[in-house]
């Protein structure tokens, strides 16, 4: 069995499990990013979230981010798991783990991964408030693709 380094899952994510996928003898530094459901966004109280994904493409795009990182930081090893479905406040939506021999790269590559996820991975978030609900990214003030297409390389 090979370990899946890039996954979309429907059940709770274990930070330890994703981080362990990248721990190895050659790498002294591991950064793990955990994205959790925040209660307040710009003063508005979120009750819960629902994530939807175009799963097949989302996995492909996560793999692509992994390849982009390999090109920029050749010593990096990356694992990303994103959860979909309904999530409660402070539950984990995404875990990104990156190991590198030296720590500067582990931070930089990890931050690159979350920025790219927010640009190109087809996953959508619906916020559910007391007063209603809405798919995020649907708002006019958000124009994440100024070029008409998600950027395929780092801006």
């Amino acid at each position: 069995m090979t370990t899946q380094m890039f996954e979309i899952v429907k059940n709770p994510i274990s930070i330890e499990e994703i981080t362990n996928k990248v721990i190895r003898n050659e790498a002294g530094a591991v950064t793990t990013f955990t994205g959790t459901v925040r209660e307040f966004t710009y003063g508005k109280r979120t009750l819960s979230l629902e994530y939807q994904a175009y799963e097949k493409m989302a996995v492909k795009k996560l793999e692509q981010i992994g390849e982009e990182i390999k090109e920029k930081w050749s010593d990096a090893k990356v694992a990303i798991t994103h959860r979909i479905g309904k999530l409660e406040i402070s539950e984990i939506a995404v875990v990104i783990a990156v190991s590198t021999p030296h720590r500067k790269d582990a931070y930089a590559a990890n931050e690159y991964a979350i920025e790219r996820i927010k640009q190109v991975v087809p996953i959508w978030k619906k916020e559910i408030w007391e007063s209603g609900e809405a798919w995020i990214g649907d708002q006019l003030e958000k124009t994440p693709y100024p070029e008409g297409k998600p950027m395929e390389v780092d801006q």
Binding site: K60, H82, A93, P122, K126, W135, D138
Partner: protein, 77 residues
């Protein structure tokens, strides 16, 4: 036949998870125009189109059997 997948608010607006379009060969732009004229889907200004799980441009060709998807601005992470 070309299958077009819908997600997020587009799925809710149209009330179905996908649309089938009868075409042998066409362009991304034609699919976009067809959907805008045939469905009450609002505007598709910020909506990208993916063909077989890759982002595509308006001029790109689409053939019967391809899987197309409308990708509104993503909000994962």
């Amino acid at each position: 036949m070309i299958k077009v997948l819908l997600f997020a608010h587009l799925q809710e607006k149209v009330g179905q998870e996908s649309i089938s379009i009868e075409r042998i060969e066409t362009t991304v732009k034609d699919i976009r125009d067809y959907i805008l004229s045939a469905y009450d889907i609002g505007n598709l200004e910020n909506v990208m189109i993916a063909v077989n799980e890759e982002y595509a441009l308006d001029d790109d060709m689409v053939k019967a059997g391809d899987v197309v998807a409308l990708i509104p601005p993503v909000s994962g992470g």
